[in-house]
Amino acid sequence: MTLNGEQVDVSFAPYKTLLEVLREDLGHTGTKHGCELGECGACAVLLDGKPVLSCLVLGVECDSRNVLTVEGLGLEGTLHPLQDAFADLGAAQCGYCTPAILVTAKSLLDQHPHATRDQIRAALSGVLCRCTGYLQIFEAVESAMVKIAQQNGSAR
């Protein structure tokens, strides 16, 4: 599979979930787990650009597919605008659900560069956060959205 833009070859027991392969066989511990039953959303990663719960996806299903985790969010040593906004606006408290929320938000903004608050709420509703009460997360996503739009504007 392609992990964060890089071709990786890995062998593992066939019953292993993508979550386990990422954490145990590929050393990518940025993706977390809170239940391993598809309830909490903490293990979300992007599979071909779409958020999936990596605890419910088998590793073998990901052959020749694109996986993006929090480790692949920033580019060349710089943080992704979402990461910057989360860091600055108090959107990460304990930081445990943060990787899942970040990649889920990225997927949303890729599809909806001008997402509304309601779209953000809906997109993130599968990932539980026990610390923040979500509001600073919404604001961070909105702030990043503005920054991304500005970057795209200046790039043009």
């Binding site: 309830e39 910057d84 979500y134 919404f138």
Partner: protein, 838 residues
Amino acid sequence: MPIQKDSPERPAKDSPASAGEFRVIGVPRRRVDARAKVTGQTRFADDIFLPRIAHCKLLRSPHPHARIRKIDTSRALAHPGVYLVLTGKDLPIEYGILPVSQDEQALCLDHVRHVGDPIAAVIAREELTAFEALDLIDVDYEILATISDPEEALATPEPRIHEYGEEGNIHKRVALEFGDVEKSFAEADEIFEDIFFYQGSTHLPIEQHAAVAIKDPEGKLTIWSSTQTPHYLHRALAKVLQMPPAHIRVSATPNGGGFGGKSDPFNHEIVVAKAALLLDRPVKICLTREEVFYCHRGRHPVLMKFKTGVKKDGAITGMHLQTLIDGGGYGSYGVASTFYTGALQTTTYHIPRYRFEGCRTFTNKPPCGPKRGHGTVQPRFGQEVQLDKIAEKLKIDPADLRLRIVESPNTVTANYLRLSTVNLSECIRRVVKTSDWKEKFRKLPEGRGVGLACSAYLTGAGLAIYWNKMPQSGVQLKLDRGGGVAIFCGATEIGQGSDDVLAGIVAEVLGIDTFDIRLFTGDTDLGPVDLGSYSSRVTIMAGNAALQAAERARELLAEAVAIRLEVPKERLRFAEKSVFDSAAPEKRVPFHEAVCLAEARFGTIGTVGSYTPPKSPALYKGGGVGPSPTYSYTAAVIEVAVNPLTGWITVPKIWIAHDIGRPLNPPLVRGQVEGSVYMGLGEALMEEQEFRRLPKKLSHALVHKFPSMLEYKSPTSLDMPEVVTELVEEPDPRGPFGAKEVGQGPLLPIMPAVANAVYDAIGVRIDEVPITPEKIVKALAEKRAGRDPRYGPSHFPHVDWPEALRVPPPWEGGDGNAVNDVPRHSKPRPEKEKVLSS
């Protein structure tokens, strides 16, 4: 100052810091550990992978109450890939968080007390192998009768769940009286008696508890664990493993949420430590979500009876509170929790006479313990809902009633809690204004309503868990020639920002940037003791210790720089990574040079600071629970919409004001307020740790109704209402830079404010938490039938209360001692009976 929209990009003009007072404190900043969190590099306990690591799984009791006749582990031990099987015989020494409740064994020797109680441990090469081998352990149980709730516990002294405690299945009974409460009722114009029930709930941190232990190359033990209290775990490990504490290192990994649920020393931590020592290889455990529900230590279910006397103008003449507490299978923090259910009633409103009786029973359920607001949340619910009823009967607006009776600052209360700053009135005025309360209360259309409630909370518990005269927190600083500063402190980062508190304070004092600081925290080998992240104690205690250490370092630097610049040291300022003459700012040396100058003059630059809370005037037995250096205050208004057909409640908006003293880092403070609001809403509307009996033809066992995140409902991003947060700032002389707590207090008014709003919306009282649609529909049916429009408990069972310790309040000539007990200082007590706190 409203901080709704604070962000680092915002010009610092609005903050007091820009007035020239501070450069770091009060300025919205990226927290020191933010980069690690947003890049997924924060290393949680389960992220630790080591060569040769083995995995541990625990066999847990399927029965709520049983004797273990026999355990046979031979088949499990013979299973390929299994390294070790441990049972209770390997770890027989009892431990527990409180010295008075040393009632847990890492693996039950002969008695299991709840479903999920661990009996044996398998350590194997693969996690899956360990899991498989659990099935190969043969246990012969003798099933015992099960006790499901406190009323049953009172009525069923045998079989005893524990051999210690008051009697039967009563763990702890307390009775305290501060003035003649009966007389105060005789003086009242109206007397209100209400019974409330507060259901238990659990912390539900997204990170499951995990721990990794190793025998290090010198043969000593190191354990990394998601614990809020590394120091207390250190003590428990030394006791159970019979090892010198100097040979044990506990390193608290950043917690993926704690909320009180990682504050006890846990069986799984002790088991992996023992296994690592025996196997001489790293051993890891990560609990499943179901196991986290069995660890619990969450909110105690509490039945409460309030009797309150008031004058026509709303003045309270006296209050009598009784609490009946469901403790679950072990002591945990329960003795402290019991006292806490009666401790803080007097801190918000003036109560001249007060009587409190509390009783905690054992039941065959996972043990309850401290959850955010520890023990004070349940009675706060009852008190604030009753106050709403009082206001209605007296025809006084509930906000105005509270404003009339708010307790004064710098007061000693009837139960001898010394208050410092009290800005509850300002909090009330703020939420009344921002919510447009006067235009909404009793004026919104049917089905919509607003409710108001208030609260107070400790800024750190006055006493340690175990009796000692040492500081509660210590900080060491090391300054190096490159201008780097290292902070060493036992304080534990559980997501609340304790590292950032330390860094912010040190950076402010030394005039440097928080990102020039390295933190070594939560590690018993690396830093001086801090008691842990509980009771909202880190900001005030570790913060004041850091402040002292930083001021001492600044003093050394100032002396050396003063000589170099030939200016009086009093004129020196530390800012912008420089030390300069405030009268001639061009005369300056860079910070790193200041360190070099000081090192040349004084030798290696390292300083220490420590903090011990002020002595409490509460000298009576039990007076150790409740005192705090200062208390935070909160007021909240909540708007609800209730569908009278379905009982469905939605919460469109919440206005909350918190008396913070001074916010050290405003976005983090706001995050704590909103996080508390969120967790409070969960408890108000949906969260419950509920149990059910399996049918008789099965085992009739008492099992957790839904030990899964899917069934244990908690609010999602779709459920979170808009929240308007205001901070009331009056620096408290006891807090570092005036800061008070924020992590717990703002949770407390949420549940009663929802209940009061539901009454405003549809005219029914739900005297119980959670407030579910089912209860609303039932109460509405009562209302339609012309009966009491209420849902809630109707009776409080008989408890044989002990004779109350009688402590005359300060205004009745009391000195803090009980008149019918030997004063504490003249009565020698063994260590075990010392009064506890958390």
